[in-house]
C-alpha cells in the first residue's frame, strides 16, 4: 500500500514570495531581537514595531498563498532549501504547500490582529515592549514549526513556541501562580516533546533522514510495527502541545498569561500544532491503524473532558480553555480518521482559530473593562455597557456551538459526520460533546452578558477602545462566514489534497443528515438548560457546592491531583532520596574512605610510643619476620 502515492512530490526552487518564504519567519524574529535588545529606548515604538513585523509576515504569507493558488494543484508543493543545519542529519528548508500556507495565513492574520489588540490591552503595562517581543518570537517559532520541511526544523519551532508560551504565561512573573503555571506548561510540554523526540529518533534510525519528502516516500517500506511506534510517539508530542489527555493539565493553568496570549497561543495557534503534526505525518499514521485508533480515542476523550471541565468553571478564561481542549479534541479525532478527516480537522482548526480568538479577545475586553476580574459570577448584564464586545462575542458563541450556517456548524458538524461514518461510537460521543458545548458556552454567555449585574462595587465596565474592538469585529466576520466558505463545495478539501491527500470520494454537504439534526437538537437542549439555570435564574455570588460531578469537573477531572499523586510526590521523595544518597552514600563513601585512612593513621601513630625499647622490639620482631619470611620463601 502506498498511502502517500497521490500526494504530489515537492518542487524545489521557486521565485517570488515562496522563494523568500523565510522572510515570514525572519520579520518577527528580527522584531523580537530588536525589541529584546533595544532597551528602554524602544519602549515608545516597540509595540508598533511588533505589529509591523507581524503584518509584514502576513503580507508575505498572503503573497505566497496567491502564488501557490496560481500553480496547478499538482505543483503546489514548493520546497525552499535553506542550509545544512546538522550535517549528516538534517538540512533545513521550508515547505510551502497548501497545508503549511493555510497555517501561515491563520497564524499571521490572527496573530496580527492580536498584536493590534494587545496595543490597547497592554497599554498600561510597563513591560509592553517585552510582551511584543515575546509575541513576535512566538509568531516566528510557530511559522518555523509549520513551514519546516523536516522533523528537526519542526522540532525547533515546536520547542520555540513552547518557550514563547512559557515566557508569555509567566509574563506577569511576579505572581507566583503565573510563574508556576509557566513552568508547569513548559515541563508538561517537555513530556510531550520527549515522546516527539523519541519519535524523531525512531524515524531517523529507520530512514536515516528526517526530511518529510524522504520519510513519507519511504514510509510504505517500513513495518507497520515501526510506523505504529512512530505514530504513537508523535501522538505523545501532539498530546503535550495540544493539551490532549493525559497531558492536558497545563492548559487551564496557562490562563494566568495575559488574555491576548490565551487567544493567540492557547486557543488559535500553538495548541493546534499537535493537529498539524498528526496531519502532516499522515503517511506514517496511515500505515499504522492502531496508532490512528489511539489518536481518535484520545481526541474523543479530550473533547468530552474539555467540555465537562468547561461546564463547571466560573473563571471565564478557564471555561474557554476547557472549550479549547474540547475543540482540539474534535480536530484530533478528525486527524486520526485519515484523509477523510484531514480537511475537516484543518478547516475546524482555522475556523476555531477565528472564533476562539474572538471569544478570548472578547473575554479580554470584558476583563479589561472589569478591572481584570475573571469570575463570571461577578459579571452579568454586560451586553448593555459593552455592545461591540457583546455582539462579536455572540457571533463567536454561535459559531462554536454550531449554530446553523456559522463557521462551527460547517466544520464541527463535518467532523461529527466523518466520525460517525468512521466509527459510530466515536461519532455519538462527539455528538454528545457538541451538546455539552452548547450548554457550557451558553452558560458562559448568559452569566456574562445577561442576567443581573453582580459587579464589584469598584467595577466601572466600559467598552474597550477601537484598537481592541476592531480586531474583534474582524475576527467575528471570520467566525461568521469562514466555515461556509471553506466547506461548501469542498473548496478546502480540494485545496489541501496535494498536501495531505483526500478521500477517494469527496463528501457532499448535506445539512439534513440524521446526525446533523440530532446534534442540533442536543445543542438546543444544552442552550435551553443553560438558560434555565443561568439566564432565567439567579446566579449565586458564591458557587454552590454542587454534586460530586460538579466537583469532579471543577477540579479538572482530578488531573492535577492525579499528577501530584503519581508524579510530583513520588518525584519529591525520589529527589530527596537521591540527594541523601548522594551526600551520605556516594560522597559518604568517599569521605568515609578518607576518614578511615585518617583514623587508622591516628591509631597507628600510637604505636610510635617514644620508648626506644619498643622501637628495638619492632626491629627485633622485624628481623625475626624478615629472616622467617626468607626461610619460608627460600624453602618453598
Amino acid at each position: 500500500m502506498e498511502p502517500a502515492s497521490h500526494v504530489a512530490s515537492i518542487i524545489a526552487h521557486s521565485g517570488g514570495a515562496i522563494g523568500v518564504a523565510w522572510l515570514m519567519i525572519a520579520f518577527p524574529l528580527i522584531g523580537a531581537a530588536a525589541l529584546l535588545l533595544g532597551g528602554r529606548a524602544s519602549d515608545k515604538y516597540g509595540h508598533l514595531l511588533g505589529v509591523l513585523m507581524a503584518v509584514a509576515s502576513f503580507v508575505v504569507a498572503a503573497l505566497a498563498f496567491f502564488q501557490v493558488l496560481g500553480f496547478q494543484p499538482g505543483e503546489r508543493r514548493r520546497g525552499v532549501p535553506l542550509y545544512d543545519f546538522i550535517p549528516g542529519i538534517a538540512k533545513v528548508g521550508l515547505l510551502v504547500d497548501p497545508l503549511s500556507i493555510s497555517f501561515c495565513l491563520l497564524i499571521t492574520f490572527v496573530g496580527s490582529l492580536i498584536h493590534i489588540y494587545s496595543i490597547g490591552y497592554m497599554s498600561h503595562d510597563p513591560a509592553r515592549r517585552r510582551f511584543f517581543a515575546y509575541l513576535n518570537l512566538f509568531v516566528a517559532a510557530m511559522l518555523l514549526l509549520v513551514l519546516a520541511d523536516n522533523y528537526v526544523g519542526l522540532f525547533v519551532g515546536w520547542e520555540g513556541v513552547g518557550l514563547a508560551s512559557y515566557l508569555l504565561i509567566g509574563f506577569w512573573q511576579h505572581k507566583p501562580s503565573a510563574a508556576t503555571a509557566a513552568k508547569k506548561a513548559f515541563i508538561v510540554n517537555r513530556v510531550g516533546d520527549f515522546g516527539l523526540l523519541i519519535g524523531i529518533f525512531t524515524i531517523f534510525a529507520t530512514f536515516h533522514s528526517l526530511a518529510f519528502a524522504d520519510v513519507f516516500s519511504a514510509a510504505g517500506g517500513a513495518s507497520s510495527g515501526t510506523l505504529t511506534a512512530i505514530g504513537l510517539l508523535l501522538l505523545v508530542g501532539a498530546c503535550g502541545k495540544s493539551a490532549q489527555l493525559p497531558l492536558q493539565s497545563w492548559l487551564l493553568d496557562a490562563m494566568e498569561g495575559p488574555t491576548p496570549v490565551s487567544a493567540l497561543i492557547h486557543a488559535a495557534t500553538m495548541v493546534t500544532a499537535g493537529v498539524y503534526l498528526i496531519v502532516r505525518s499522515g503517511p506514517i499514521f496511515q500505515g499504522a491503524e492502531a496508532a490512528q485508533l489511539v489518536v481518535t480515542i484520545v481526541g474523543v476523550a479530550t473533547l468530552l473532558a474539555g467540555a465537562i471541565i468547561g461546564t463547571a468553571k466560573d473563571d471565564i478564561k478557564k471555561a474557554l480553555a476547557g472549550s479549547t481542549m474540547s475543540q482540539i479534541g474534535y480536530m484530533v479525532l478528525a486527524a486520526g480518521i485519515g484523509p477523510a478527516g484531514y480537511a475537516f480537522a484543518i478547516a475546524h482548526l482555522i475556523t476555531h482559530g477565528f472564533f476562539k480568538a474572538d471569544l478570548f479577545l472578547g473575554a479580554g475586553s470584558v476583563m479589561h473593562g472589569m478591572n481584570d476580574e475573571v469570575n463570571m459570577r461577578k459579571y452579568g448584564g454586560l451586553r448593555k455597557v459593552m455592545p461591540i464586545t457583546f455582539v462579536t462575542f455572540l457571533i463567536g458563541y454561535l459559531a462554536i456551538i454550531g449554530f446553523p450556517l456559522l463557521s462551527g456548524y460547517f466544520t464541527k458538524d463535518g467532523i461529527i459526520e466523518v466520525a460517525m461514518e468512521h466509527n459510530a461510537i466515536l461519532g455519538w460521543l462527539a455528538v454528545l460533546g457538541a451538546g455539552i458545548t452548547g450548554f457550557y458556552m451558553s452558560r458562559l454567555v448568559f452569566m456574562t452578558f445577561f442576567g443581573a449585574r453582580r459587579w464589584e462595587p469598584t467595577a466601572h465596565p466600559h467598552e474597550s477602545p477601537a484598537v481592541m474592538t476592531w480586531p474583534l469585529i474582524i475576527l467575528s466576520i471570520g467566525a461568521l462566514g469562514l466555515g461556509a466558505f471553506l466547506i461548501i463545495g469542498n473548496r478546502f478539501m480540494t485545496f489541501l489534497a496535494p498536501a495531505v491527500g483526500a478521500p477517494e470520494e469527496l463528501p457532499s454537504f448535506n445539512p439534513f443528515t440524521a446526525t446533523g439534526l440530532v446534534t442540533l437538537a442536543l445543542v438546543a437542549i444544552g442552550v435551553a438548560f443553560a438558560w434555565f439555570r443561568y439566564g432565567a435564574a439567579e446566579v449565586p455570588a458564591v458557587a454552590p457546592r454542587g454534586s460530586f460531578l460538579t466537583t469532579f469537573a471543577r477540579r479538572d477531572l482530578y488531573g492535577d491531583a492525579l499528577n501530584e499523586a503519581l508524579f510530583m510526590r513520588p518525584g519529591q521523595w525520589l529527589t530527596r532520596l537521591a540527594v541523601f544518597f548522594d551526600n551520605r552514600g556516594i560522597d559518604g563513601l568517599v569521605n568515609g574512605l578518607a576518614a578511615f585512612i585518617g583514623g587508622s593513621s591516628g591509631r597507628m601513630r600510637r604505636i610510635q610510643t617514644g620508648f626506644v625499647r619498643s622501637y628495638a622490639l619492632s626491629i627485633f620482631v622485624g628481623a625475626a619476620l624478615l629472616a622467617g619470611a626468607w626461610l619460608v620463601v627460600g624453602n618453598l
Partner: protein, 98 residues
C-alpha cells in the same frame, strides 16, 4: 665441634638482643649491644676455623676497633643525657613520639 661455638654465639647474641629489649638503664642496654657484637666476633672466629681461612679472625679485630669507637661515642651521648636528665633510664627519654 665448631657447632657448639656457633650455638654459644647465637645464645650470646640472643641474650644481648633480649637485654636491649628488657633493660632500662642506657649503659646496660649499650653493654648488651656490645655483647651482641662480641657474639658476632665469636661467630666470625668460629667460622674462620670452620672455613679454614683467616678472614674471620681479622674481621674480629676490625669489629673490636669499631666497637671501641662506638663505646666512645655512646658513652659521650649517654653521659650528656644523664647530666641533663639526672637519669640513665632509656624510658625517660620519650618526649619524641607519635
Amino acid at each position: 665441634m665448631t657447632t657448639h661455638y656457633l650455638v654459644l654465639s647465637a645464645l650470646l647474641f640472643a641474650i644481648g638482643g633480649v637485654g636491649v629489649l628488657v633493660r632500662r638503664n642506657a649503659i646496660v642496654v649499650f653493654m648488651c649491644v656490645e655483647l651482641m657484637l662480641n657474639a658476632c666476633n665469636l661467630a666470625f672466629v668460629t667460622f674462620a676455623r670452620q672455613n679454614g681461612n683467616l678472614d674471620g679472625q681479622v674481621i674480629a679485630f676490625f669489629v673490636m676497633i669499631v666497637a671501641a669507637a662506638e663505646v666512645v661515642i655512646g658513652l659521650a651521648i649517654i653521659v650528656t643525657i644523664f647530666r641533663t636528665r639526672r637519669s640513665a633510664s632509656v624510658d625517660d627519654a620519650s618526649l619524641l613520639k607519635h
